[in-house]
């Protein structure tokens, strides 16, 4: 005896939700091979679901995404500080994060101030002073090492970042260098600044991140990189945590590049990205 339509109608919803027992699933599929009405019932349900999906499909704006990223970063810092102050981790992973932080601080201090090696004590009163270019570049290296997924993939959307970065975000096309744009995103840097990060692949094998930032609050002379004159323009280059870094300023806009390329190639790319004055 065949399953009546009414029984099948009661199962259609669960069938489309993919939650039917195998025996019921067979029942529905067998019935709908011969019953046009029940097939149409299924199609109608599918059509309405598609309509609901279209209705709900709303994307978070670039500015909101930047705000959220910012507040998550702030929460991460606050958690790490709370944990450091109390000596009790607030969440399981804090140990790893703090270890990474301490290691990074030690690495930094070793480079700059050998006499402070190993110090990772409580927050100092002047710790909220403006972040310097070196600190920002270190953040760029971190973001390059562990990139977040891009927010945009179309180069025409880049100007949308400008209100957050505060300077034009219009790097020159790097296609002549074999670079392919994967996408871009806004990243929070301290003091409520944002930088734009553009992710490229070069010749299909190298990953290159180009950052566009407002250099006014952070200065233009990174002490951890050394100056190199290319043409008549200085470009600062160096290696940080194994990555090749180059930074340059053109027409009041800061450009930095992080990659696994050599110093010369990085310097050339940084200059290539900066529009000619």
């Amino acid at each position: 005896m065949t399953t009546p339509c009414r029984t099948v109608a009661c199962l259609v919803e669960t069938y489309l939700d993919d939650e039917l027992e195998p025996s019921q699933l067979l029942e529905v599929e067998k019935h709908t091979t011969t019953c046009t009405t029940c097939r149409e019932r299924i199609q109608l349900d599918r059509a309405i679901r598609m309509g609901v999906r279209r209705s709900v499909d709303t994307k978070a704006s670039v500015s909101f995404r930047a705000r959220v990223t910012h507040s998550m970063t702030a929460e991460r810092w606050a958690s790490a500080e709370r944990a450091a102050a109390s000596g009790v981790p607030t969440w399981r992973a804090v140990g790893l994060a703090v270890a990474a932080t301490v290691a990074a601080v030690m690495g930094l201090e070793r480079q700059n101030r050998p006499e402070t090696d190993g110090v990772a004590g409580p927050v100092q009163a002047n710790a909220s002073a403006s972040v310097g270019l070196d600190a920002m570049i270190d953040q760029f290296v971190d973001w390059h090492a562990r990139p977040l997924p891009p927010e945009i993939t179309n180069v025409n959307d880049l100007p949308g970042f400008e209100p957050y970065v505060g300077v034009p975000v219009r790097p020159r096309a790097l296609a002549p260098f074999g670079a392919k744009l994967l996408g871009g995103r806004i990243l929070p840097v301290r003091e409520q600044n944002c930088a734009a990060m553009l992710q490229y692949t070069l010749d299909g094998s190298h990953r290159v991140s180009i950052y566009v930032f407002d250099p006014r609050r952070v200065g233009t002379h990174p002490s951890k990189l050394h100056a190199k004159i290319i043409g008549s323009a200085p470009v600062y280059v160096g290696q940080i945590k194994g990555w090749s870094i180059a930074a340059a300023e053109r027409s009041g806009v800061g450009y930095a590049i992080a990659s696994d390329l050599g110093d010369d190639a990085s310097a050339e790319l940084a200059l290539a990205a900066a529009p000619a004055p």
């Binding site: 939700d17 969440w91 310097g132």
Partner: protein, 217 residues
């Protein structure tokens, strides 16, 4: 001096990156819950900060999106306690008893493929309105199932109710949508008016449901 003072930030990790991958989904569901983009942004931001604080409670390997929706739902309930707004919707003009489910073949054909009749924007708008007017629990269940494709079990965890309740909310929510869409199709003249949804299969009395929700039923 150190460039970071002692506030050198820890790095964003996989948890944060994966959480941010669900931002659009959280925002979309939040928009449907709050019905106001600015409120939706605040709700998502609160949710993500709470998620960061509670990350130790997340069990790796389980559905992160469902876990985030649970925080979103709890935050929504605490922040926007169900009050006058929903009652207005619940007791408004659409609060008539709802038939449970039979649409004739002719109506189904008319409703199924509105694109071919150049009516998609009108029908789409109607679905949007109908969704907004669903009782909150129905709306959230339908969105989590139809849009976010969570299982009954995951929805039950998000909403803090038994699986049977989820199935009932889904069924009622979908039937309300279908009825609304059918009425609209009749209004637009693409479905015959005498082809009404039959009431033979146990009408869902929304008024009774609301009374029960308020503890009077």
């Amino acid at each position: 001096m150190s460039f970071f003072g002692k506030k050198r930030p820890s790095l964003p990790d996989a948890f944060e990156a994966q959480t941010l991958e669900h931002l659009d989904a959280l925002y979309a569901v939040s928009c449907r819950l709050t019905k106001a983009p600015l409120d939706a942004e605040d709700l998502v931001q609160d949710t993500l900060v709470k998620a960061m604080r509670a990350r130790g409670q997340y069990e790796p390997g389980t559905n992160l999106k469902a876990w985030l929706f649970k925080i979103l739902h709890n935050t929504f309930i605490n922040k926007y306690r169900r009050g006058g707004l929903e009652r207005l919707v619940l007791e408004g003009p659409d609060a008539d008893p709802l038939a449970d489910g039979w649409v004739s073949a002719a109506s189904m054909r008319a409703l199924r493929d509105p694109e071919s009749q150049a009516l998609r924007p009108l029908v789409q708008e109607e679905i949007h309105k109908a969704l907004d007017e669903l009782p909150e629990e129905f709306r959230l269940a339908v969105v989590l199932s139809d849009v976010e494709e969570l299982s009954y079990k995951e929805i039950a965890e998000v909403m803090g109710c038994p699986v049977g309740t989820v199935m009932s909310r889904l069924h009622r929510g979908r039937r309300l949508l279908q009825k609304r869409l059918y009425d609209h199709a009749v209004y637009l003249g693409i479905a015959p008016a005498d082809d009404a949804l039959s009431e033979e299969a146990g009408a869902v009395d929304i008024a009774r449901y609301r009374a029960r929700k308020r503890g009077h039923g």
